[in-house]
């Protein structure tokens, strides 16, 4: 066993927008707690903003042992340069073993900048994370972060490791990790880190910002009707909305359907979208690439409709309907309406 002096701390960057914490950060804290336990290490949250102490306090309900809190009026809104400088300085000083970020627009802007400066490994859009001792090329490595994600074309799941870097970083999409507030809250230990603005922090100024809270919440929807590229057109996709209206579900789409403009990006289910665990999931005109399956395979019941009898989606579905969605959906709606009469 090679000896190293790597730490055993897990850090989670806790993202806030307009003073509200992002749910994905709490999901990552819950996962981070398990990873830290595996290493007998501490879980720490990093909270940056202005008047965000309450968020730091909240991270203790999701397993944090300590919170680094950096508050300053200049830090009210996320900006790349000051936020990355703060994290780089903290990471360089404390060398945590693992740092996790939500794969949000902020996380995807921030994490690579921090990883670049600290020369850490960074894996995007992981669908699972584990801690394990690993023998790689004949050498033993302790407490490696297994960064698991579908790769390339979607037929395979790759496990990425960063054996020689002291700090291992990963981003994870919303919904992938399950969130539970922990019953017992550790004692609250908040460490305030002072922030002194420097000139380069202000090379980019925020002029204005418009943000509307999304009304779509796929994660909590008990029934999801998802359509894919197989629907063929935006016009045909309306039938997905119609079915959702009739049976009371949320509309979702595969990445291909989003790319084709059939359905907006906030409704994308899959590795690079949201991960969902509804009671009932309709996969309509979705072939079933692993990236999509990664985001919905934990649904309790899956009904798949596809013209191709060999579509991979049928491998994970509980009910299989071979046929054209334009023909099947109206029949289903009609049958449903007559049942509920």
């Amino acid at each position: 066993m090679s000896m190293n002096n790597f730490s055993n701390e897990v850090w989670v960057f806790v993202e806030q927008r307009n003073g509200k914490p992002a749910e994905v950060s709490f999901e990552l804290l819950c996962k981070g707690r398990k990873l830290a336990n595996r290493m007998n290490g501490k879980l720490k949250s990093v909270v940056i903003g202005n008047a965000v102490e309450q968020i730091a306090v909240e991270t203790f309900s999701f397993g944090a042992d300590e919170s680094y809190l950096i508050e300053h009026p200049d830090l009210t809104h996320y900006r790349t340069l000051p936020y990355s400088r703060i994290l780089i300085e903290l990471v360089e000083k404390h060398q945590p073993r693992v740092v996790l970020f939500g794969a949000t627009i902020i996380g995807r802007d921030l994490a690579p900048r921090v990883a670049s400066h600290t020369r850490s490994g960074l894996t995007a859009d992981c669908t699972d994370l584990q801690i394990s001792d690993v023998n790689y090329l004949g050498k033993e490595h302790k407490n490696l972060l297994l960064q698991i994600r579908p790769a390339f074309g979607g037929n395979i799941i790759a496990t990425i490791i960063t054996p020689d870097a002291p700090v291992q970083m990963a981003t994870v999409r919303e919904g992938v990790m399950e969130m539970h507030a922990s019953p017992s809250v550790n004692s609250i230990k908040i460490t305030r880190i002072p922030y002194t603005p420097n000139e380069t922090d202000n090379l980019v100024k925020l002029i204005e910002q418009h943000r509307e809270e999304s009304t779509v919440n796929l994660k909590t929807a008990p029934i999801i009707i998802a359509g894919g590229y197989g629907l063929g057109s935006k016009e045909n996709f309306k039938l997905i909305y119609e079915l959702a209206r009739v049976i009371g579900g949320e509309v979702a789409g595969s990445r291909a359907a989003v790319d084709a403009g059939y359905v907006p990006p906030e409704r994308q289910v899959g590795q690079t979208g949201v991960t969902v665990r509804p009671k009932l999931y309709f996969a309509i005109g979705i072939s079933g690439a692993i990236q999509h399956l990664a985001g919905m395979q934990e649904a309790k019941k899956i009904v798949a409709i596809n013209t191709d009898p060999d579509a991979p989606i049928f491998e994970v579905s509980h009910y299989r309907i071979v046929g054209d969605a334009m023909d099947v959906i109206p029949k289903f709606i009609e049958a449903y309406k007559s049942k509920l009469k």
């Binding site: 927008r17 809104h77 790349t80 627009i105 802007d109 994490a111 690579p112 990883a115 670049s116 850490s120 490994g121 960074l122 894996t123 995007a124 859009d125 690993v134 790689y136 390339f152 074309g153 037929n155 790759a158 496990t159 990425i160 490791i161 960063t162 020689d164 090379l203 980019v204 100024k205 925020l206 002029i207 204005e208 910002q209 418009h210 943000r211 509307e212 809270e213 999304s214 906030e266 009671k279 395979q297 309790k300 019941k301 899956i302 009904v303 491998e315 994970v316 509980h318 009910y319 299989r320 309907i321 071979v322 023909d327 099947v328 029949k331 289903f332 049958a335 449903y336 049942k339 509920l340």
Partner: protein
């Protein structure tokens, strides 16, 4: 006048994958796939060309990749790039985003110190990591604006950019130079200019000319290079030696992330029930879902 550098990548067409494309070590056998110009990088080039159209200056495209990546450089020339550089070396092979951004940033420093903008696609379709843009900006020591939707204004040494955020947008003002990554909605890339395509379809990079020289006893490489140079058809090529890079930071050696394991997965629900595509079949399915408290 504003000078722009555009980072482009040739990517396997992930929408059209067939056959055995994975090598045993878990990396991709790119030679077996159709290769295309990464779509968002093409949008980045379009934006750089618009800056040039409006303010003057130059547009320089750069790609790091194997010799066949010369294809996307020719396409950059067809669209309107003034220069296109191939960064290639066996020592660069197997690079993750950190090693890639190191080489790209060194190439940018070598090629043009006086750039105002570096444009890149937000992400490449073969990895979707969106890391190379920010990592290159960090290595150049310049600010970055990712997910740019629109250039609102360029004035003196400042640019205003509208960028996408969750549920809306924000407007940022950056001092130049800045690295900007764009999304596919930002702009529609212009078609190839017929005239430029005629001019540059014969443009070749050094490894391509070496291949010509190897396969024919009629040509000597030096002679070929001189001839292509004199006709402005030589795609400049830079290797690890040309860039004077630290080879420990390049390619697989300089990549902290390693593929440890690759497995093909077979997911299964256990039992799949066939539902007849009739109204009766649907009725049975609905009954069952209601019985299981899933519906109704």
């Amino acid at each position: 006048m504003y000078n722009s550098i555009v980072l482009v990548k040739q990517v396997p067409d992930t929408a059209n994958i067939s056959g055995q494309v994975m090598k045993e070590d878990g990396t991709v056998n790119r030679a077996k796939l159709p290769a295309i110009f990464n779509p968002e990088d093409k949008v980045a080039l379009e934006l750089a060309l618009r800056v040039k159209d409006k303010f003057g200056g130059t547009v320089t495209a750069i790609t790091m990749g194997p010799p066949r990546a010369s294809d996307v450089l020719r396409e950059c020339l067809y669209m309107g790039a003034d220069m296109a550089y191939l960064i290639t070396d066996r020592k660069f092979a197997g690079a993750d985003t950190l090693a890639t951004s190191y080489v790209l940033s060194e190439a940018i420093k070598k090629i043009n110190h006086k750039y105002h903008f570096v444009f890149a696609g937000r992400q490449a379709i073969d990895g979707d990591t969106a890391q190379v843009g920010p990592q290159t900006a960090e290595k150049l020591g310049i600010p970055q604006i990712t997910y740019a939707e629109e250039i609102i204004e360029i004035k003196d040494n400042k640019v205003r950019i509208k960028r996408k955020i969750e549920g809306g947008y924000e407007i940022l003002e950056s001092t130049l130079p800045v690295l900007i990554t764009v999304i596919k909605e930002t702009a529609i890339p212009r078609p190839f200019s017929a005239k430029r395509t005629m001019t540059y379809k014969g443009a070749k990079s050094l490894p391509e000319l070496e291949k010509v020289a190897e396969s024919s006893s009629l040509f000597y490489i030096d002679q070929l290079v001189n001839e292509y140079k004199s006709r402005s058809l030589l795609i400049p090529t830079l290797t690890a030696d040309d860039l004077e890079v630290d080879v420990q930071r390049c390619g697989i050696k300089g990549s902290p992330t390693k593929v440890y394991n690759v497995e093909s997965v077979t997911l299964s629900s256990g039992i799949t029930m066939d539902v007849e595509n009739t109204k009766v079949g649907m009725g049975k399915l609905i009954d069952e879902l209601i019985k299981d408290h899933i519906l109704g």
